[in-house]
Structures are given as C-alpha cells and as structure tokens.
Amino acid sequence: MNSLVLRTVARVVAPVVMLYGVRLLLVGHDSPGGGFVGGLVTALAVVLGWMAFGPPPRARRWERGVALGVGISAVTGLGAVLLGRPFLTHALLYAGPVKLPTSLFFDVGVFLVVVSATLAAVRTLWEAGS
C-alpha cells in the first residue's frame, strides 16, 4: 500500500487519532470512553501508520505489553489489600485540582492490553499475509 495520498494524510491524522485514543482513556471516568475504547483507537492509529509507511521490520515482543497491562491492572487491586480492603477496591484521589481515581490506573492496564493484543494480532496476520 504505497500511496502518496495515504502517507500525507496519515502523517497528520495518525498522531491526532492517537492523542484522541489517549484522551478517551483519560476522560472515560466522566464521559464516553475508557481503556478499552481508547486502546482500540490508539491501536488503529498505529495500524494507519503501518499502512502508510509499512509495518515495523519484525514482530515486536507484544506479549510484554500484554503482561505489563495485566500486571498493572492486577497490582492496582493489591493496594487495597495492603490497606485491609477487598481486592480491587478503588479510591478517589486528588492531585491538586485534578481528579485522580485509582481506577484510572486499572484502566491504563486495560488500555495496554488492548493496544498490545490488537497490534499483535494485526502484525502477526500481516506477516502471514505478505
């Protein structure tokens, strides 16, 4: 897929889409969005980049991203255990004026898993197809 139009568009659109994906992750607490959707959007932005400029030379170790994501989500639940509350009990924190629920960190884990899993699937099938 070697197209000047696609490359020109992707150069502008892909970073914006990626940022939008991260935004969806961050605002999920109060408006439509969240780690799953944000992860899909971000992964799509990366795939758009691959379509325009070609995929990375070899399959990255996506399993690390998956493991990191599941690990982060699980660890956020352990904090509550240390404080004697049930696993995965979340707290609402504030960093100055910014609302920072601990469930956001959980969502970051979800985000990472979705991005890694999607990209792993696309990249693997891509390789198999070409």
């Binding site: 607490h29 109060d30 959707v37 399959a59 639940g77 609402l92 956001l104 899993a117």
Partner: protein, 731 residues
C-alpha cells in the same frame, strides 16, 4: 520436641532434588537422608517403646478440618523404622549395583521421593494427608519401575502399576471422604468406630478403602502389576516391591482395624481374598523360571497371608500380621538382594541357566540359605515364630491353609536355592562386597527373630499389650515344619520340570489390562477423528449449533415477540442491516462480503445511538473498524478470493445460521424489552458518587465489576499470546 516429627518425611523429600543434582555421589546424599531419618526416629521409637505417642500438626485446610498431621504410635514407628532402616541398606547396595549407571542421580532422587512419601504414609494421622503420601509412593514407584525407559516392557509395566494403584487410590480417597463425613473428622486417631460401623454407608466405606488396600498390596485379581514391576532395577524390587511399599495396603488395614474392623463384613470380605492370594501366589511362584518373578509371586503370596491375618480382625491377627511383615521384609529383602547380585555377576536370572554358584559366591549363597530357612519357616528362624503366631491368629478352622501354603512356600524357596547347588560353569564369577554386605544385617535379623526371644516380643509390645508370642518348641510343631520343607523340596523338583513346559497363559492380568488400554485408545482415536475434521466451518457449525439449541430452547420458551407497531425510526436502520446481511450472504466476492458485514455492524451502531448508549455505540463502531481493517488489510490476502468450498446457503449452514440469529435476536429482545432491573440501576446511580465519576458504564467496568474486567483482559492477553504462538510456529 514433638513438632520435629513433621520434619521426618520432609528430610528425604527435600534431599531428593539435591541427589538429582549431585553428579559425583548421589548415593551419599541418599544415605545421609536415610541416616538422618533413622536418627530422628530414635526418640520417636523410644517413646513408642514406652507406650507413648508423639503427634504434631500443621494446619492446612482448617475450614475443612484437614491438616498435615503426623502421629507416631507403635505401628507407625515400627513401619517408619523399617522404611528408614531398609532404606539405608538399599542405598548402600544400589551404590554397587548401579556403579556404571549414568542416570544414578535420578535413581536416588526417585528413591528419596519414595522414602519420604512412605514415611509420611505410615506416620499420617489425617486421612487426606495419608492419601497424598499414598499417591506419592505410587508416583515414585512409577518412575522407578520405568527407570529403564528405553525399554517398552519397562514403560508398559510402570503404566500398568501406576494405573492399577492410582485407580485403587482414587477409590480409597472416595472411601476416606465418606468415612470422614460419617465420622465428622479426618483425624485417624479420632474416628469413632461405633458411629462409622453403625452408619448405613459402612459397607461403601469398607469396600472403597479395601479397593485401595488390595490394589496397593497386589491381591488377586489385580496382583499382576507386581510381577510386572520386576523390570525395575533390583534395589527397587527389594525396597518398594517387597519390603515396604506393597505393605502399605496391609498397613492401611491395620491402621483402620480399630475403626472399620471387627465386623463380620470385615472378615468375609478380606479373609477369602487374602487366603486366595496366599495360595495362588505361592503356587505360581513355584512355576517361575525367573529368579525375580519367583520372588515377586512369593511376595504376592506373603501379602495375601498378611492381608488374611489383618482380616481376622483380632488383636492377635494384627500382631501376627506385623510380625510376619517385618520378617518378610528381612528374608524377602535379602533374597532380592541375592537375586540382584546373581544377575549382576552372571547376566541372567533364568534358573535353568544357573547352577553351582555356591563355589563362586559363597557369602551370597550363605545369605540365601539363611533367608530361605526363614521363608520356609524352619525352627530357629524368624519365619517360624511369625508363622506360629499366624497359625494361632487364624485359628483351627483356617490353620490348614497355612500348612498347604507352607509346603508350596518351601517349594519355591528350594527352587531359588537350586541355583547355588550342583556343578556348573562358575569360573570367572566373583562377589563384590558391596553386593552382599548390605544384605547381611537383614539376614542376621532373620536369625535373631528366631533365636532372641526379646525381639519379636518387643515388636508385638509396641502394638499394644505385650503377650507371649514365643512358640513352645514341641515336636508337634517342628515336625510339620520340617515335613513341609521336605515336601516343598519335592514339589520344587516337580515345579522345575513343569515350569519349562508350562504353556504361556493366554489370559493373564497383563493382557487384560493391555487389551482394555488398547480399546480405550482406539475409542479416543475414533472420537478424535469424528470431532476434529480440520475444517473451521465444521467446528463453527458444531459450536454455534450447540449454542443455538442449548441457549435457544429456554430463550424461545419465554420469548415475547415484538409488536410491529412499536417499531419506530429504528426500522430504517434495521432495514439497512437486513439488506447488508443479504449482500454478505449472497455476494460472490469475499471483499464485498466483508464490507457488507461491516455495514451490518455499523447499522447496529446507529441502533445503539438510538437507545442513547454512546459508550456502546463507540465501542461497537471501533470494534467494527478494527475487524474491517484486519479483514481488508490482512485476512483477504491470506484466503483465496474464490467462492468458498461450500455455498453459504448449503442446508446445514443455513439452518444453523438462522437458528443462531433467531435465538440471539429473541434473547436481545427479551433483555431490552423486559422490565429492567431497577434495583441494579438504582444501586449504580446511588454509588457512582463513591467512585467519583459520571460515566456509569465506565465505572461499572473499571470499579464496580473490576474483577470481571481483570479476567477479561487476561483472556484477551492469552488470546493474543495464542496468536503470536501460532504465527511463530515453525512452518
């Protein structure tokens, strides 16, 4: 001090990996472990001798009342001493026997695994702890029987032994669970016989526990695994398959005798099996031409007698069984070590090829003679004392079995001794000290038990009230023993001539087992061929068909059908969706079908928006997009774009698709039009404040039902790993 008891089984278990890693002297590790256990048992034994009981426990499943509980009464201490003591001798013997074996470290590691499990088994005071160690010994036995795993017979024999003992063990576990539930405790020492025997489930408990005991102690008709186990290296045969492990079944009977025993059922179920095994084993032993097979059937016979003695259900029977088992460990252990030495030096175990070994191997021959004396229960041997007590325990009605058995037993003993007599070519044979010295203490025990009165009385004294077990020497007792021995020698000569002409049995336990195993494998094979066609479409038909029928029946039973008048603006999107479905199904081009499928998904997005569910709409849209990208960018390149191998409208596919669609539609309709659960909605709305957000969907996902999400991303991650693994598969 008593808590040290808990460490006794752990010493060999922890030493096992060490022995496996030790290249230079794994036997030294094993010797150290067995020696340490022996030392640790000294205070335990002194307590037991004084009539005291050491016990200790570590909480395990406290909610179920299950714990790692050990308790060393006389019976346990005696068996533990047997395991550790014989273990030391076996390790010393194995060192010489496996001199040039490169896999010796693994051998000693398995041996330690066994020793630890066996110690745990005999010391356990908790039914489930006992079960765990029981299976541990089966596993160790499996590895040791199959030690020469390059040979088919070794592998097959190990599988037979494992399956027979583990199936019995599972039955026993079921019996233990029933027993524990009936008695209200899993603690062996607290089981109340009146509660258990009064229960209507008592026959079940007894039957299941007996299944475990009989398989482990090789009673007919499942005895066949024990002779098969003789493919193991000889130290294993001596240790596991004659001196210790096979006695676990009888040990279990003795352990549970106070709880389950003493009933008519106990006698009528155990005695016939035990006595039958006793005679059967002895007769078949005479006909063997292989030294170890002869000893193995001899062991089957001895285990039968011990089982029968336990089956009497009396205190005398218990004492006789234990005394007999200890003596059996001494003489049969010696005989196995002798057989191993003979094979090691001559390269064969066939009796017909062996003659006149006494000249080349005088010490070995002497050991063999002493132990055969005890085997034949001749006066002044441990066997005589044990058999005398056995006769007392069986009583006048059953004593006759003992005398018949004695003749046959003497006969296979004489067959064994044949190899040392006569003139044969024994030029270059010699006997390394390492192959007979370890047997010496066992042979000495054979004599001591028959000449030193305190020894058998001490053994019996550990079990309960000491009573007179020393036989009064009278010609009335000695003469039958001598007669039996002479008769046995005659039978031995006869057996020798018969064994060479004995036809190979057409149906024995091994063959039945192998036939059953082969039938099972054929069945599995047929099932695999039937279910795994290698075509994704077939799998989908099965999966979706089952889902449609399984989920469909209850859904359709309660379905309410929409009234056409209630459809409003959604009708337009439904129309688009239906049209897209038709295009998908009817299109001859794969790309067109994929795009049309995407259109179906997007029409659903609009339906979600109509339902004011922006999160769902967003997610649905993105999932559709990713799928479309995957399809168009990648998958279409993998597949041929021709028409698929089966037309989408083929009968079965169409049926399954329509069924799935109808069921899914009915389910969705029912869920969205039924009375919504106000309780849940209110709960979430009320508690959203706690989570500090306003997007309820997201709050549910990451907070209220976070554990579900964690499970989901784990599944997603595993799926991704699966994709990666499939792609990296070497092509």
């Amino acid at each position: 001090m008593q808590t040290l008891l808990l460490g006794i089984p752990l010493i060999p278990l922890l030493a096992a990996p060490w022995a496996a890693a030790s290249r230079r002297a794994p036997w030294l590790v094993a010797l150290g472990a067995c020696g340490a256990v022996l030392l640790a048992l000294v205070p335990v034994a002194r307590w037991a001798a004084a009539g005291l009981v050491a016990s200790a426990e570590l909480s395990w499943f406290s909610a179920l009342g299950v714990g790692y509980r050990l308790r060393a009464d006389g019976l346990s201490a005696l068996f533990a001493l047997l395991v550790a003591g014989v273990g030391v001798l076996i390790v010393l013997y194995a060192r010489a026997y496996l001199e040039h074996e490169p896999r010796a470290p693994a051998f000693f590691a398995y041996l330690l695994l066994f020793a630890g499990s066996m110690l745990g088994l005999v010391l356990a005071d908790d039914l489930l702890t006992l079960y765990v160690f029981w299976e541990g010994t089966s596993l160790a036995s499996f590895f040791l029987i199959g030690f020469h795993d390059e040979r088919w017979e070794a592998r097959q024999a190990s599988v037979r032994a494992l399956v027979v003992t583990v199936v019995g063990g599972l039955a026993m576990l079921a019996g233990f669970l029933l027993l524990g539930l009936e008695a209200g405790t899993f603690r062996v020492s607290e089981l109340d016989p009146r509660t258990v025997q009064g229960s209507p489930r008592y026959p079940w408990v007894l039957g299941l526990v007996l299944a475990g005991a009989f398989t482990k102690s090789a009673q007919i008709p499942v005895h066949f695994w024990l002779p098969g186990a003789m493919v193991a290296p000889t130290p294993v045969s001596a240790y596991l398959h004659s001196a210790t492990m096979v006695k676990a079944g009888v040990f279990l009977l003795l352990r549970l005798l106070p709880v389950l025993g003493g009933t008519e059922l106990w006698r009528t179920w155990i005695l016939p099996v035990g006595l039958g095994t006793f005679l059967f084993g002895a007769v078949v032993a005479v006909l063997q031409d292989d030294l170890k097979a002869l000893l193995a059937y001899g062991t089957v016979s001895a285990l039968g007698l011990a089982t029968a003695l336990a089956g009497t259900g009396t205190a005398v029977g218990r004492d006789a069984a234990v005394l007999y088992l200890v003596n059996h460990a001494a003489y049969k252990g010696t005989l196995f070590l002798v057989a191993g030495a003979v094979e090691h030096e001559t390269g064969t175990r066939q009796i017909r090829h062996l003659r006149g070994l006494a000249r080349a191997m005088p010490a070995t021959a002497a050991l063999a003679a002493v132990s055969v004396f005890s085997l034949a229960a001749l006066p002044a041997s441990g066997g005589f004392v044990a058999k005398d007590l056995a006769a007392k325990a069986l009583g006048h009605g059953l004593e006759g079995w003992l005398w018949v058995g004695a003749v046959v037993t003497a006969a296979f003993g004489a067959r064994f001794l044949q190899v040392f007599f006569g003139s044969g070519e024994a030029e270059h044979r010699h006997e390394p000290a390492g192959l007979w010295l370890p047997a010496l203490p066992l042979a000495v025990l054979c004599v001591l038990f028959g000449t030193w009165r305190q020894l058998p009385e001490a053994v019996v004294g550990w079990l309960g009230a000491p009573h007179n077990v020393w036989p009064k020497f009278s010609w009335g007792k000695v003469a039958p023993a001598l007669l039996a021995a002479v008769g046995g020698a005659g039978v031995a000569w006869f057996g020798g001539t018969v064994s060479s002409r004995w036809p190979e049995a057409r149906w024995n336990g091994d063959r039945v087992f192998d036939a059953l195993q082969a039938a099972l494998l054929r069945f599995a094979d047929a099932l695999t061929h039937l279910s795994l066609t290698g075509r994704l479409r077939d799998y989908l038909v099965v999966i979706l068909g089952v889902a449609a029928v399984g989920a469909g029946l209850p859904v359709l039973a309660h379905a309410r059908w929409p009234e056409v008048g209630r459809l409003s603006f959604e009708a337009a999107f439904v129309g688009i969706g239906v049209a897209a479905v038709l295009v998908t199904v009817l299109s001859r081009s794969l790309v067109a079908a994929v795009v049309a499928l995407g259109a179906v998904g997007y029409s659903v997005v609009f339906l979600f928006m109509g339902l004011r569910a922006p999160d769902l709409a967003l997610t649905q849209m993105l999932v559709e997009t990713v799928s479309l990208v995957l399809f168009l960018a990648v998958v279409t390149r993998l597949l041929s774009t021709d028409v698929p191998d089966r037309h989408p409208l083929a009968g079965l596919d169409l049926l399954v698709s329509v069924a799935v669609g109808v069921v899914a539609g009915a389910l969705a309709f029912q869920l969205t039009t039924g009375p919504p659960s106000q309780r849940l909605a209110e709960f979430f709305a009320r508690n959203a404040k706690l989570a500090g957000g306003t997007n309820l969907v997201n709050l549910v996902v990451v907070d209220f039902r976070g554990l579900d999400t964690l499970g989901e991303i784990t599944v997603l991650g595993i799926a991704a790993l699966g994709v990666l693994a499939l792609a990296r598969r070497p092509r």
